[in-house]
């Protein structure tokens, strides 16, 4: 027809075999490939190494089922909040209000029970609802009004925190009172012991939450859409993802998870204290980033966050047990945050 066909003439006898190159399948290249395709593996290795190092330095004081499960208890709250943070960061957002939502929800659970006299179950439900609602407002502002997540949640952080102080009247509800009249609030503080290992319900909830979210992110359409939105929102929108709905559901879910964290917090400290959680945002972001989730969205896995939270917990407890004083501990954690990510980067480079 046209001259293009002149060139196309060469296609008549074309060979239709699939192009293939040789592959070397050495042990090393397999490990590299595994590391590359499982972003959570690197933090896991860092975690195992750090447990081993502290175990060697501290002996059974550290390397006991009691101490190791203690770490789990210590990171559970940050970890639950970190799960919420992971979802938001995967969409290329950031949630600075997580800690404020958590503490406001716990205060509502406590005050609704003690000040308003609601049954604890209802108060808990109210707390969860408020957390979800605040998250939803965040999501609405981000998705509909198209405000930057950093600003939205920065504002919401201040709003929720101030509301928390104003509403609670800076009043702590004592553990004894809660135990006596509303033990449901301390639900996540109960524990089961196996040998020396102590698993509080909060820890169990944390682990289950991570597993469920890992499943959802990996194996459902919603999960893939969360990644797509974080990766390139415009492309996601053009290729048929309802980005607004995804964003709003992510922020609302994040709020709900934070409210659960607030409930778990009551279990952990026994009481309801409005001054809790002031560093939750920075700590949860630390866990997320050490866990290998990209702050630019779309890359990483929530299991990485789990290991990231544990790495911080291991370093904190280990250094404290080594007797480092607080400032030295902060200094070393600073060094180790950079170090952990540098190792991660190095491994990825080798495997690239």
């Amino acid at each position: 027809m046209s001259n293009q066909s002149e060139a196309d003439g060469g296609l008549v006898a074309r060979v239709e075999s699939i192009a293939s190159f040789e592959h070397q399948h050495t042990m090393l290249s397999r490990i590299q490939h595994a590391l590359h395709s499982n972003p959570a593996l690197v933090p896991l290795i860092v975690l195992v190494l750090s447990v081993a190092v502290f175990g060697a330095l501290l002996g059974t004081k550290f390397f006991s089922s009691f101490a190791l499960t203690l770490i789990l208890q210590q990171v559970a709250i940050v970890g639950i909040v970190g799960a919420a943070q992971s979802l938001v960061i995967l969409t290329a957002g950031i949630d600075l209000s997580v800690g404020a939502i958590m503490v406001l929800s716990s205060v509502i659970m406590g005050q609704f029970t003690f000040r308003l006299g609601l049954p604890p179950a209802v108060a808990v439900a109210c707390g969860l609802a408020v957390g979800t609602f605040i998250g939803f407002v965040n999501g609405w502002l981000v998705a509909r009004i198209k405000l930057p997540p950093f600003i939205v949640t920065l504002g919401m952080w201040q709003i929720a925190l101030a509301s928390n102080f104003l509403y609670s009247g800076n009043e702590t509800i004592r553990a004894q009172d809660i135990e006596a009249s509303a033990p449901l609030l301390q639900f996540f503080g109960q524990s089961i012991s196996v040998g020396g290992a102590v698993f509080t319900y909060g820890v169990i909830f944390f682990i289950l939450l991570v597993l469920v979210l890992a499943y959802i992110l990996r194996h459902t359409a919603w999960g893939r859409h969360v990644y797509a939105v974080g990766d390139d929102p415009e492309a996601a929108e053009l290729s048929g993802v309802n980005t607004k709905r995804i964003l709003m559901s992510v922020y609302a879910l994040s709020g709900l998870i934070c409210a659960f964290a607030g409930w778990a917090l009551i279990g952990r400290i026994g009481s309801v204290s409005p001054t809790s959680g002031q560093f939750s945002n920075i700590e949860s972001i630390t866990a997320v980033v050490i866990g290998g989730i990209s702050l630019f969205g779309g890359r990483g896995s929530i299991l990485g966050m789990f290991f990231g939270a544990l790495i911080v917990g291991v370093f904190s407890l280990g250094l404290r047990l080594l007797g480092a004083d607080a400032q030295w501990t902060y200094l070393l954690i600073g060094v180790l945050i950079i170090g952990a990510v540098a190792v991660d980067q190095w491994i990825r480079k080798v495997s690239a």
Binding site: A162, R174, A175, Q176, S271, V272, S276
Partner: protein, 316 residues
């Protein structure tokens, strides 16, 4: 067997706690005890304190010296430690309830506030009825010390407290306003500026601690008001006492952290050696380590020491 103890302070950046730690370390070295110190990151950070208590239990310490950031919220963790056989002594701030700890060595912060309140009222004399008061507090989360000092001051000055468990709910017209300082110079200056613009006639300033007082003074200086405003504060650190001497601060309530810490370490040693617990000051439910008003301009009816004496006793 080696005896080890833990010191857990609210923060390790406030000179007050730094001194407390130094006192405890000196005493521990003297008695041959291993001391590990922990701290929250900011005032109100009780979760780090809970983690520290757990660390001490895991570490097999004999006792804990604790200045609680949230006096109620920490109780459950303290109970856990006591159940594990540790002696827990509250330093500086009593727990709520006070018997949640085995013993309490504390300054009476309310009294500390009351002293400077009375002094300020006395200094103004009849003018106290028309005073214009600025209150520079610690933070919007209203930590316990913050409330105690603030309310103590107002009580001493003769102002109705409304709810004594929080600041900011008083309706007395003499109060110009409250602001928060984070307990440092920067916050002190900005808070003072804000309140001065709001009402330039301020003539009494209550500050939560001496660094915020120093900041407030800088603000007054920039407004040209440094000579006609009374600043009162609490702490009694050496820079603070020097500021009293230089006339930056009118009067300050001095506390004795070194003594608290030393007594605490001795108590733990005794507990580890023979299981004895310390006794409270007769007539009080805690061991009062005392507080004294430091000023060079004593007023009638308020007991005080001068700055020379204050400097001899100051801590940092």
């Amino acid at each position: 067997q080696e005896v080890s103890a833990c010191l857990i302070t609210k923060t390790d950046t406030n000179p007050f706690f730094v001194k407390m730690k130094e006192g405890a370390e000196a005493k521990a070295a003297e008695l041959g005890i291993t001391l590990k110190s922990f701290a929250g990151r900011i005032d109100g950070d009780h979760e780090t304190q809970v983690a520290a208590i757990e660390t001490c239990i895991a570490d097999g310490a004999s006792g804990i010296l604790l200045t609680a950031s949230d006096t109620s919220a920490i109780v459950q963790a303290v109970q856990q430690a006591r159940d594990a056989g540790l002696l827990v002594i509250a330093l500086d701030t009593p727990l709520n309830p006070i018997d949640a700890a085995d013993a309490t060595f504390a300054t009476d912060n309310f009294l500390a506030g009351e002293l400077i309140g009375k002094w300020a009222a006395g200094k103004l004399g009849a003018e106290a009825a028309n005073a214009r008061i600025a209150l520079l507090n610690l933070g919007i989360s209203q930590p316990t010390v913050d409330v105690l000092r603030n309310q103590g001051f107002l009580q001493g000055f003769g102002i109705d407290l409304a709810d004594p468990n929080k600041w900011g709910d008083e309706t007395d017209p003499r109060i110009v306003g409250h602001d928060v300082t984070a307990g440092n110079e920067e916050g002190g200056r900005e808070a003072m500026e804000n309140l001065l613009v709001k009402d330039p006639s301020i003539n009494v300033v209550h500050t939560i601690n001496e660094p915020s007082a120093a900041g407030a003074y800088e603000a007054l200086k920039s407004f040209g008001r440094e000579n006609d405003v009374l600043i009162v504060s609490v702490d009694g650190g050496c820079p603070g006492v020097a500021n009293v001497k230089d006339g930056v601060i009118g009067a300050t309530s001095q506390q004795y952290p070194l003594q608290m810490a030393a007594l605490g370490v001795e108590a733990i040693k005794a507990w580890a050696d023979n299981g004895t617990k310390p006794e409270p000051t007769p007539g009080k439910d805690f061991f009062d380590t005392g507080v004294s008003l430091v000023t060079d301009e004593p007023v009638e009816g308020v007991e005080s020491i001068d700055t020379a004496e204050g400097e001899a006793l100051c801590w940092g």
